[in-house]
Amino acid sequence: MDPKATAGLQDDLRLRISPALMTDPTAAPILKANHLLGIEGLSPGEVTALLDLAETYAALNRAPDKKAAVLKGRTLINLFFEASTRTQSSFELAGKRLGADVLNMSVRTSSVTKGETLIDTAATLNAMRPDMLVVRHHDSGAAELLSRKLDCSVVNAGDGAHEHPTQALLDALTIRRRRGGFHNLTVAICGDVLHSRVARSNIRLLSMMGAEVRLVAPRTLLPVDAERFGVGIFTDMREGLKGADIVMMLRLQLERMAGAFVPSTREYFRFYGLDREKLGWAKPAALVMHPGPMNRGVEIASDVADDPDVSLISEQVEMGVAIRMAVLDALARGRA
């Protein structure tokens, strides 16, 4: 990258750090709701405000002193029913940088009494009087259920195949920083859309912000009636990537590879794995994203994933912390 352009970008960011935004708990509210359960229900204005706020935190995170006091005295509980190193640590870091007390809880569920246990867990947690609860659960709708049972703000960190709003927001932030906006932008989301909450949140967010969204997958991994989302549907990757500015790869879960949805990993890679040749079908300056963790040689080739000129994967992780700080900040304001 042109060093002068980089310098200019950083100058620009420094100007956009607004101490008032970061420290004033009575600043204008950003979110109407007390919870962030999904992209559905957010307005373009709310998304833009969250991204703007996250920009300031992205800049803060690059400064030597990364601490802010927005959540001083508040308690944040990370409740993860599914293992997730990167999302959990991202939320933990976000909370700590904003000055909150962060408690991580990893829960192993008994499958028999799942629903009951979740509500019991909610009651127990509620008694501890947290200010915010970040929850990941393997069942769609779990975050919504908790939000009705708890007095605190609930952030959905992924529920079943429903939504993963902070992932979509961090993807949007990454895209906006590179491309300036979403209009006239074509984003191809490729892979296991059927089981992906990341895809659902991204479809909602990117469509709402004006991007053209396409889904590229074998029919076994495309949800029925996916076209009702207002997106283009492609089963041929060459067609689907033609003219794409952003190629967003999805993780193929190991248990999906055993033959029920696709016959083998080698066949999947042959037709849907992003390698140099397939990337060549997209626009010349197309960028590659992946929510992680990657299956190298299944949905993405290493030389593409590791190429800093095209891969935004590390930047996505960086923006993840910034966006989660923005979300926690925004929710705290509503509770001030």
């Binding site: 029919r219 089963t235 066949e267």
Partner: protein, 424 residues
């Protein structure tokens, strides 16, 4: 170097274009160079005098079981191709029911090389739809198609699990691949030797209701509607199936179907005194169902006629009826049996030939089945009227388990050419 062949005094019948004229046809470089009524022979061409007989595109048989690999004592690609050539068949679509099952790209490659080295006619391999024909997980349809598989089928087995079938169809649709289904509910037909009814009861044979076929036909039509897959019923045998497919076609679904020559000519009574060579899969049906198959061909609901050639040895066929294997050989009786529809006035000659040439070529996506400039010179010279009595000892197939031994036929192939080379 280049041998030119000139077919003179032929009745050229090309069902694809509707051509039916007296004329001649010139072959160059293994392809049809020219054809028509006013064609004169080039000086250096070798002349084939057709003596007014029908010169038609070589037949395409969409359903052939061989024993290679794994059961070469029953049939090899070479021996099947001898039988095909003798029956006027120039392309066979082989079923993947072999040992090993054709469910990996390397096996498709093996079959194609083996066919190129040993077979007299063209071999278009179908690959398995599910791994090991087990009906549980789909095969590598994309890679198999790239390797040259023309269709995906579990042969004479039905995928009993509707969820597996749904996903296999959806996955096949991704690649525009053709799925060939076999319609017999596996639970209803488990252990059955013939069609349930009075005759089976009198014989005391284990039997399954004929509706076991329509149940799967209707299920798979619904799944086609859901998934958009191209679907061909390899062979149907009942009126209920025919009605369901006719309705699906009227709704514009991408569904086609075939019928075997023996289901056009024989009914359940032909099982006679426990005659194991007439134990076939699906089993022979009632006379009403047989008549429905003839009507189905005439009305174009049934697209193709196939031999469903299934060689069996004495080890598997010379058994008590219930214990005997299913199947009849059929490559050499496909054309004579189909011509019976013409002789009995059910369908015009060109229509019968279409079900054996242009229609299967279109369904399986083969460059075959037509008389046209530039098309491969796969040709069959047919004496439409020649009467004969089938004698199993004259069959070219390595297996002799024909359901038609002693049957009187009218019409047969006189010469067969593949790529301009005479193979029979």
């Amino acid at each position: 170097m280049t041998k030119r062949l000139f077919f003179r005094d032929a009745r050229l019948v090309d069902p694809a274009s509707g051509l039916d004229v007296k004329g001649a046809l010139l072959v160059e470089h293994g392809r049809i160079a020219d054809l028509g009524p006013n064609l004169s022979a080039p000086e250096d061409a070798e002349i084939v005098d057709c003596r007014g007989l029908v010169l038609a595109p070589g037949l395409v048989d969409g359903r052939v079981f061989t024993g290679e690999p794994g059961s070469e004592h029953r049939e090899t690609l070479a021996s099947a191709s001898e039988a095909a050539a003798a029956g006027g068949v120039t392309t066979i679509v082989t079923m993947p029911v072999t040992d090993p099952v054709i469910d990996a790209p390397s096996l498709v490659d093996f079959l194609r090389r083996r066919a190129a080295a040993t077979a007299k006619v063209r071999v278009a391999p179908a690959a398995a739809l599910t791994k090991g024909l087990a009906g549980e997980t789909m095969t590598e349809i994309g890679l198999l198609k790239e390797a040259g598989a023309v269709a995906f089928t579990d042969g004479d087995r039905t995928v009993g699990n509707a969820r597996v079938m749904r996903r296999a169809l959806a996955y096949a649709a991704t690649f525009g691949a053709l799925v060939v289904g076999h319609a017999e509910d596996p639970d209803l037909t488990d252990g059955a030797a013939m069609t349930e009814g009075e005759f089976a009861t009198r014989l005391g044979l284990p039997a399954a209701p004929a509706l076991a076929e329509a149940i799967i036909v209707e299920r798979d039509i619904r799944l086609v509607e859901l998934t958009g897959a191209r679907y061909h019923f390899g062979q149907i045998s009942t009126r209920a199936s025919l009605d369901a497919i006719a309705a699906a076609k009227r709704r514009g679904l991408p569904v086609t179907c075939g019928v075997s020559a023996h289901h056009l000519m024989l009914n359940e009574l032909d099982v006679g005194p426990y005659y194991p060579f007439r134990k076939v899969k699906p089993p022979l049906r009632s006379e009403d169902d047989r008549a429905a198959m003839v009507e189905g061909v005439a009305s174009d609901v049934i697209d193709v006629i196939v031999s469903s050639h299934e060689p069996q040895g004495a080890d598997t066929k010379r058994q008590p009826f219930a214990a005997a294997a299913f199947g009849t050989v059929g490559l050499e009786t496909l054309l004579p049996a189909a011509l019976a529809l013409y002789h009995e006035g059910h369908a015009p000659l060109a229509h019968v030939l279409k079900t054996l040439t242009a229609a299967p070529a279109r369904i399986f996506g083969l460059d075959a089945g037509r008389l046209a400039k530039g098309a491969p010179a796969d040709l069959t010279l047919i004496d439409v009227d020649a009467p004969f009595v089938l004698d199993e000892r004259t069959l070219h197939s390595r297996a002799r388990n024909t359901a038609f031994d002693g049957r009187k036929f009218q019409g047969r192939a006189k010469m067969t050419f593949v790529g301009g080379e005479r193979v029979f």
